[in-house]
């Protein structure tokens, strides 16, 4: 059997990779993909905790399903926003969205 710590370490690593992608990449769509990676990391830790709870408790699995639904709603609105921005600015690079700064 694989221990709880192993799953949690994989989850932490995936979350860190998502954080890095969100902060380091210039493409707006790839920033959304990085947010999805972070959602998935949290989901993995939720399901891992749930599997190690007593068998009659299944809050973790229910939470994971609800996180998935919220993530689907989030990525829908996020991609619509990104496409609207790209349509007006003609670029997907977030460091060129500097209208408010100038």
């Amino acid at each position: 059997m694989v221990s709880l710590e192993a799953y949690l370490l994989v989850s932490a690593l995936l979350f860190a990779v998502g954080t890095f992608g969100f902060m380091a990449r210039r493409n707006a769509i790839l920033m959304l993909i990085s947010i999805e990676l972070m959602f998935n990391a949290v989901n993995l830790s939720l399901v891992a905790f749930n599997a190690h709870l007593p068998p009659d408790a299944n809050a973790g699995a229910v939470f994971a399903l609800m996180v998935m639904a919220v993530a689907a709603a989030e990525v829908t609105v996020g991609l619509a926003l990104v496409i609207a921005i790209i349509r007006t600015r003609q670029t997907a690079e977030v460091d060129q969205y500097s209208d408010l700064k100038e």
């Binding site: 210039r26 068998p55 998935m68």
Partner: protein, 208 residues
């Protein structure tokens, strides 16, 4: 469940109790699951392969230059995560992962990439100039969370047990009925909002 097992010589009936199912709250031995890691069984091998798939594909997502390649790596990452959920004994979550992430969100992201990327060969530089800060923050996040995970004594963590699909369904529609309904409202709002945002402005004027 009161008798501590593992430290004393187990009587015959204690073995019968263990055969029926893992004892959870009665764990007196510190981290009994750690001793079982030394044997190389099929679930450990599967976990290792899936973990390499998840983390490797995740790193590929954030480092690959072409965003289409990143999206394909993301699909590999989500598929490996579905396998990990199945390994954890949550088949309904694994099925939802395949349906929602591999089926819906990946296609949505691929469509968005197809609509927005000009297919020119000269790709822009992938990384922001705050790359070093991002690296430091990501390493700090992993270090802190990993340190907390290793430091914590998961005394109650026994062996992994699968969650029954029927029990999850009952919980969703009884105990968690209110969040379920709120999520349906949220998805309705998201649909309306994304339709509004994705509409071209000139279509408004043509309609008037």
């Amino acid at each position: 469940m009161a008798e501590p097992y593992g430290q004393i010589a187990r009587p015959r009936n204690a073995c019968a109790r263990i055969d029926r199912g893992p004892i959870r709250a009665g764990h007196r031995v510190l981290e009994p699951h750690r001793t079982e890691q030394t044997t190389l069984d099929i679930s450990s091998v599967l976990f290792f392969l899936l973990a390499v798939g998840v983390v490797g594909a995740g790193i590929a997502v954030v480092t690959l230059r072409n965003i289409i390649h990143s999206a394909v790596a993301m699909m590999i990452c989500f598929g490996s995560l579905a396998g990990m959920y199945a390994l954890l004994g949550a088949p309904i979550v694994a099925a939802a992962q395949v349906l929602i992430y591999l089926g819906a969100i990946s296609v949505l992201i691929l469509f968005a990439i197809m609509l927005t990327q000009a297919g020119d060969a000269n790709l822009p530089a992938p990384f922001h100039r705050q790359l070093p800060i991002a690296l430091v923050v990501a390493l700090a996040v992993f270090g802190l969370v990993g340190w907390a995970v290793i430091q914590t004594d998961w005394a109650l963590a026994g062996q992994a047990v699968g969650a029954a699909v029927a029990a999850i369904a009952t919980a969703v529609f009884t105990e968690y009925a209110l969040p379920f309904e709120i999520i349906s409202l949220l998805i309705l709002v998201a649909i309306i909002g994304s339709i509004y945002l994705a509409r071209r402005p000139e279509e408004d004027e043509r309609a008037n």
